[in-house]
């Protein structure tokens, strides 16, 4: 009986420690599969919209691609989803074309982007992979907007001008505006490409740092302590059983 109680305590301790919430994956572009190869030309519609529901459970994605200059035969092309080169979003503008991509995410129910803050964890970060060639521009602007039940938060940056995907972390505390990060209803990403820009984006998620080391019961040591207590409890049980005989 005492052994069972000890195991329960140990399980409870482990359960308490695992309450730290995992990172929130917004989109890894694993959907659709196979992916979509798109092209905006003078024979395809400008202002192309691609909707993919449940890119992650409860997250729907809408990608809107627009050529803002005169549309020519090969103004804008790219891929969304699973491609032979991996899962990604890409956009390639030709030399005479400018355009933008708006990737909008809507959540079926509000999400908490800072689930561990209440238990002492730090505010996390928006994390993503990007790669870009600015073409004839000096950079490729990248704008994030987080929509919450009480307002919107936004952050503007530029994409990484590299040949391969490069990770970037944007602390959620760096977002400006008014909003409640415990009640996030959606998020949008706007990529503004100038002439000849070529870009790609992948692995968008929200990090949720666990509680700080000053938390009362850090998970692994507590579990170990509980297990270490088992022999002592057994000894105590045996001692109690022996008490009446001695009396």
């Amino acid at each position: 009986m005492n052994l069972l109680r000890s195991l329960f305590i140990a399980a409870a301790v482990i359960g308490t420690s695992s309450a730290a919430k995992a990172d929130i994956l917004i989109d890894d572009f694993s959907a659709p599969n196979p992916g979509i190869s798109y092209l905006i030309s003078n024979s395809n519609p400008n202002g192309s919209v691609f909707v993919t529901n449940n890119v992650q459970p409860g997250i729907n994605r809408t990608v809107t691609l627009t050529v803002t200059s005169t549309v020519v035969a090969n103004s804008m092309g790219g891929d969304i989803g699973v491609t032979p080169l991996g899962s990604l979003f890409s956009m390639s503008l030709n030399n005479s074309s400018s355009g933008n991509a708006v990737i909008n995410y809507s959540f079926s129910s509000p999400m908490n982007f800072i689930p561990n803050v209440a238990s002492g964890g730090a505010i996390g970060a928006l994390q993503y992979l990007s790669t870009a060639d600015a073409g004839f521009g000096s950079n490729v602007p990248l704008d994030f907007t987080i929509t919450t039940t009480t307002g919107t938060l936004s952050y503007s940056t530029t994409m990484n001008l590299t040949a391969t995907f490069t990770p970037t972390n944007v602390n959620l505390a760096s977002f400006t505006g008014t909003g409640d990060l415990t009640q996030v209803t959606g998020m949008s990403i706007t990529i503004t490409g100038g002439q000849a820009a070529d870009v790609a984006l992948d692995a968008i998620n929200i990090t949720t740092p666990p509680g700080t080391p000053t938390e009362p019961v850090p998970a692994p040591p507590a579990a170990l302590l509980a297990l270490l207590a088992l022999p002592a409890l057994g000894l105590r049980n045996r001692w109690k059983k022996n008490q009446p005989a001695m009396a």
């Binding site: 190869s37 790219g78 073409g135 590299t162 002439q195 000849a196 070529d198």
Partner: protein, 252 residues
């Protein structure tokens, strides 16, 4: 009689001036203005469903030869199915190549079956320069530095009956129309430009190949200068009016 002499004198003087003046002017021969095919055609290298890699298209040029345009995706290699590696437009006045985000693409322009002016660069004078006119050029990403590239490699090879002339060059990025000039004298090797058999230009090939290269080229031209007369001949021509005047004076 005097009138005839004066007219003759005037004609001689004018001829001398025209000859002298023409020695200083250059002549441009448009080798290819990409007017063929007309209307132009869209292309996308996306095997196997759309177009294979490499993609080769053959068309006549304005000067009578044949242009073989090859769009070749070098990376990824082999090019997986279902990927728009490169899109573009050929003809109607331009060649527009737009590489996708992860592609390394070379464009090969090969001119064959040359005849007349396109085979004899000396037909209009001494060939000095080769011009590549671009509407714009974005070299893309330099893989060696993992950062934006400032130049795109261009390889020139001219095959003649006497040998081959060749060279490698770097064209700088330009968002606006620009002419890149290559002196025939800067090409290595031995060749006879009066008997050109074929020409091959490679954009974005070799060890300096870039990623995501985009460009629009609208003509290839060579410049010639008329064969210069020797200085003594010029002096002699310049003296012609004086000789005429002297003769007139004696006869009167």
């Amino acid at each position: 009689m005097v009138l005839i002499r004066r007219v003759r004198s005037f004609i001689l003087t004018m001829t001398a001036l025209v000859v002298f003046d023409s020695c200083a002017s250059a002549d441009f021969v448009v080798f290819d203005d990409f007017s063929n095919p007309s209307p132009g055609q869209f292309f996308v290298v996306n095997p196997p469903s759309i177009q294979i890699n490499p993609l080769t298209m053959s068309h006549p040029t304005g000067l009578g030869g044949t242009r073989n345009t090859t769009i070749q995706v070098d990376v990824p290699n082999p090019l997986p199915a279902g990927l728009n590696a490169v899109t573009g437009f050929l003809g109607g006045g331009t060649l527009d190549v737009n590489s996708s985000t992860f592609a390394q693409v070379r464009t090969i322009l090969n001119y064959t079956s040359l005849s007349g002016t396109s085979a004899n660069f000396f037909q209009n004078g001494v060939p000095n320069y080769l011009y590549f006119s671009f509407l714009s050029l974005d070299p893309g990403i330099d893989l060696a530095t993992n950062s934006p590239a400032s130049t795109m490699p261009v390889d020139v090879s001219i095959s003649t009956t006497g040998g081959t002339l060749s060279g490698s060059f770097l064209f700088a990025q330009s968002a606006s129309p620009v002419d890149y000039r290559i002196a025939f004298a800067d090409l290595a090797g031995v060749g006879d430009l009066s008997q050109v058999l074929s020409m091959t230009f490679q954009f974005n090939a070799g060890p300096n190949q870039r990623q995501r290269t985009d460009f629009v080229v609208d003509s290839i031209t060579y410049e010639t200068a008329p064969v210069p007369l020797p200085p003594t001949a010029l002096l002699a021509l310049a003296a012609t009016p004086a000789l005429v005047w002297l003769r007139q004076r004696r006869s009167t």
